[in-house]
Symmetry: C2
């Protein structure tokens, strides 16, 4: 049963995930994994966890073929729905049952490797499922936050990692993670001082300077952030202020799908399909009882997508200080990404 444990000093939480427990000898073997037939393709629905939602052809049934985008439960959940959310103390230590949910969003019924291989209208449907699931999880009072993210070409602990079928993950947590709180509080304090959203200010500044812009359309700006922690890091921000990605209006889906595909293609082409991850930064769930605490969040927070190619390796200095070393100035990264020729027929 997963257990959340809280560090008594700084207060970070760790998930002790006994579902994924490994003996010492298993760690060294973890990198060598066998390729096995893909369980995420259409027709293999009985090999995956249960279907949570799907965009389907009319008349087709859950857990059967006929879907276009499909959200399922992970078979190796990091946090599980079968748990309570009791908090207990053990001397000076705090712990909590690992209630949560862990879903996979399968982005294509065909064995496509990457999101950028899909057409813009297919990516719109993926965005529809992303926002739909975020909004559904928000209704569950056990959850405080959900992280929507993608690991591409990254090893992250489960045997299904080697299967290249485009998908993202959605994990709902019983706590608002420290890193998320930190960003919210920082945005709040900026707003208190200036009565402006810090992200709106960043958008304005990036458009004025121009040197870090990678792509742009009417509704979105994609740029390499000023203090990029990894080389070729790209943020995509909606130009219109909005705190929740889940609340993105469907009229913006085409523009977001387009800019997302364009950024992923530019990264893939320039950097030869590097490992990367993307993370949606979005407001935490606001259940009614929390309404006072979060009263300003609509004004002071602003959702964005962070895409980070994983080209460098963190080690002691980064872990010890939290300061990252980036060998590529974001101005150079943006210039190279923008100048990269991407095939027009992809769109």
């Amino acid at each position: 049963m997963p257990e959340l444990r809280r560090d008594p000093v700084v207060g970070y939480w760790t998930i002790i995930s006994t579902e994924r427990s490994r003996r010492p000898v298993e760690f060294s073997a973890a990198d060598i994994k066998e390729e096995r037939p893909c369980p995420f393709c259409e027709g293999k629905e009985d090999e995956t966890g249960g279907e949570v939602t799907a965009i389907r052809e009319p008349g087709t049934l859950p857990n059967s073929p006929g879907w276009l985008v499909r959200a399922i439960l992970s078979k190796l959940p990091i946090l599980s729905l079968d748990q309570g959310s009791n908090r207990t103390g053990r001397g000076i230590y705090d712990l909590m049952e690992g209630v949560g949910t862990h879903e996979l969003i399968i982005e294509s019924p065909k064995h496509k490797h990457d999101l950028d291989e899909l057409g813009v209208s297919e990516i719109e449907k993926v965005i529809q499922v992303y926002t739909h699931r975020l909004n559904a999880l928000e209704k569950d009072p056990r959850f405080k936050y959900a992280l929507l993210f993608k690991n591409h070409g990254l090893i992250s602990g489960s045997a299904s990692d080697v299967i290249r079928h485009t998908r993202s993950q959605l994990i709902a947590t019983p706590i608002t993670p420290k890193r998320v709180k930190e960003e919210l509080q920082a945005a709040q304090s900026y707003f208190e001082r200036r009565e402006r959203c810090v992200f709106c200010d960043v958008l304005r500044r990036e458009r004025e300077e121009g040197s870090r812009i990678v792509a742009e359309n009417d509704a979105f700006l994609a740029f390499c952030p000023f203090a990029s922690r990894s080389p070729f890091e790209v943020w995509i921000l909606p130009k219109k202020h909005c705190a929740d990605f889940g609340k993105l209006a469907p009229e913006y889906f085409p523009a977001f799908a387009f800019v997302l595909k364009e950024c992923l293609l530019r990264i893939k082409t320039l950097l030869n399909d590097p490992p990367f991850n993307f993370i949606f930064h979005t407001a935490p769930f606001r259940h009614k009882k929390k309404a006072v605490y979060w009263k300003t969040i609509e004004e002071d927070y602003h959702w964005y997508l962070q895409i980070s190619p994983r080209l460098t390796h963190d080690a002691g200095f980064e872990w010890g200080t939290g300061i990252h070393i980036n060998p590529t100035p974001p101005e150079d990264a943006a210039h190279l990404l923008k100048e990269t020729e991407i095939p027009k027929e992809s769109f």
Copy 2:
């Protein structure tokens, strides 16, 4: 010239390290590095950066043979002494020149791979150089902090990484890193509430419970922390309260050398020489002008060494939430480490 850039939202700093600048094609090649003759062995002193200090046989000269432990300047410094520490603003962004220093501490004149291969009395000399350099850097008013750490078997950006000659790194920074401040502030707030050091409380609790202890002697306790972020993580804490590793009295060097060697040997034997890093958590430099701000630090902070085998791979979830997933409960890890048979003749 390295440049420190501050994120306008959360306020983390990034080092844009143009000394290590890489073009896109170079990233994929970064993992394949050629083995070259070791420049860190005795007799190759002219191939390394200049000597900062050394424990030497009487009558031998700096940058020549005859040393036992040797601190040198890195040839690829992350932060450099040639810089100023001017801070400037560019619109809403802050930046700072990358003043600092980056030293390597070569732990043996012989081509030993790992610190645990040295005898206890040799490790005592290494500790002597560690503390000596920390104390020397503290006197420089340009620096606020220095991180002492070791990357073992970890890729971290420079061509000399593939050379296996036991050494640690010491990097002095012109700022107190956010992650360090966070730990200091948390310890301070615990102390304010209870008038006790949180680390002393942790020590007491670990000795009462016993189930996470890996090694112990009169002066030090080594244990797997309750909320271990990585499997088989070990902390070594001095039993006597002390905020600064640099102030460790020489009478404790033998006990610290012994417990350090024992922990490294247990990790290496049980986990088949895994990549790991260790990080000294120690109080930041307190120059006289800062005396008021840090007035309680002697009482509320407590230095320790964190040893983290790198057996799992962080990905989107860890980056997005700051919550780590650890598949091995620390009680199991401690039990396995403690039961591991290590050769007695090593000591």
